[in-house]
Symmetry: none
Subunit: 243 residues, 2 copies
DNA sequence: TATGTTATTATGTTTGTACATAAGTAAACC
DNA sequence: GGTTTACTTATGTACAAACATAATAACATA
């Protein structure tokens, strides 16, 4: 933890402060509930104004990473992995935002014949092969999600892409495909033998399964995605408001 | 649109500005893409500082309701999380919409001491009793969800209410409490013995658990709600869109 | 004509300063 | 001893004042 604020850098100070904080809160002491240094001191130490520092803190508070209480101070919100109404963060971005380093445990790409649900969703003939991508991902300690994705042939993926890059970035930059609409179905189910083995849990354990249908701006189907999350490690959060 | 800023009010100016903006952007012109008045002018008109106004704008930007671009101005983002409708249907309405006739299998109302999570959410002392309502509901064939709700004492519920009426209707009509914001956490878990017995399934079966935090217009906590759904019978769907 | 130059506009960044408020703790008072 | 009062701490609210920057338009120059 040497990273500090560089006043010469073209990067805005509050952005620098933000990264600084993201690093800082990784420290075990803060993860364990210790208060962050108070705003006035920290601002002084970083040689930025309190307002600027608050700007950075605010962002993390908004994201739900920090909680503040008067007189009590600021500390990291002890919450689980969640997808905080930002449905549109990709998995890697989502994890990054929480300071979790992701590890890809397995990646497998193949061309397969679509089953009925998929052929239907893509509106293609069942004898037209589609690209299937399977990924086992998690943090440094253990895998906690197994993804299966199918992509519409129209996109032109060939299977040699660098799937280590964020998926939607890849689709947008290299294939001009913009994922705009997502329909998701979330349900609980019991892990079958295959999934249980991948996630290193017992068959029959509860898992959270997410089915995601992704469309482009013209509502054309792009991706059919299945995700199986180890139960304890995933909580889906939704925030909604009515008037 | 006469609502403006009241400097005498105990409500912070940036909060007032926020409500003002929320109203403002309802106007069809802004919905149709017209730029909001620029910050400097608007701040002058509202008689608050630009900083304070920006504080309010920032919040809406973060929520994804507004987009800003240098030189281009600020306008409403044409993006929508349309899971709204879904989230705000109460259970009975939700079921009705699916053509399912609901049956109440059990209803139990009691006054209990809140556990830490609840006391915290309500921000009350743990020795202050709260109203707890438990309900087992389902269709004509079988129960498929077990609800546990806790209500904030402030509301003034006494426990003798007619809980057969839709809940949010009751709160609104009889107690002038409007549920506006809901934060939900959805996760999979295994049924414990208690829940399993209620839902008539084996202990250890997968269930979908939904934790719901409900707030009123002033973001004050109203209800803490837990729902345990029989896995096969419930799928949570979300539709989201970005621009 | 093509290419700089400048002005304009509206948001973006940053600071310094001040007082308010919630929730404690300690001291003072009767 | 118990109640009030004052202090302390750290966040919350608010303002004014500059200067930076991105995008564009209008103008000027080679």
């Amino acid at each position: 933890m040497k990273i500090s604020i560089d006043h010469k850098s073209p990067i805005p100070l509050h952005i620098q402060a933000e990264s600084f904080l993201r690093q800082l809160i990784q420290e075990p002491e803060y993860q364990n509930g210790k208060n962050l240094p108070n705003e006035v001191d920290m601002a002084k130490k970083l040689a930025i104004s309190r307002t600027t520092l608050r700007q950075a803190i605010n962002k993390l508070v908004f994201e739900g990473l920090l909680v503040r209480k008067k007189k009590f101070g600021t500390k990291v919100a002890h919450m689980k992995i969640s997808s905080k109404s930002m449905n549109w963060l990709s998995f890697s971005q989502e994890m990054q935002a929480r300071g979790i380093t992701i590890r890809n445990y397995e990646l497998h790409v193949s061309w397969v014949l679509p089953d009925e649900a998929i052929a239907n969703f893509f509106n293609i003939k069942p004898d037209k092969k589609v690209l299937k991508m399977e990924r086992l991902r998690g943090d440094m300690d253990e895998p906690f999600v197994y993804f299966i994705s199918y992509f519409h042939p129209r996109i032109g993926l060939n299977g040699d892409e660098d799937f280590k890059r964020p998926l939607y970035e890849l689709l947008e930059q290299d294939y001009s495909v913009k994922a705009i609409v997502s329909k998701e179905e979330i349900s609980a189910r019991q892990a079958d033998k295959f999934i249980a083995a991948k996630l290193e849990i017992d068959a029959g354990s509860a898992i959270l399964s997410r089915k995601r249908f992704v469309y482009d701006q013209a509502e054309r189907p792009i991706e059919y995605n299945l995700g199986f999350y180890k139960a304890e490690s995933f909580v889906y959060t939704i925030e909604s408001r009515r008037e």
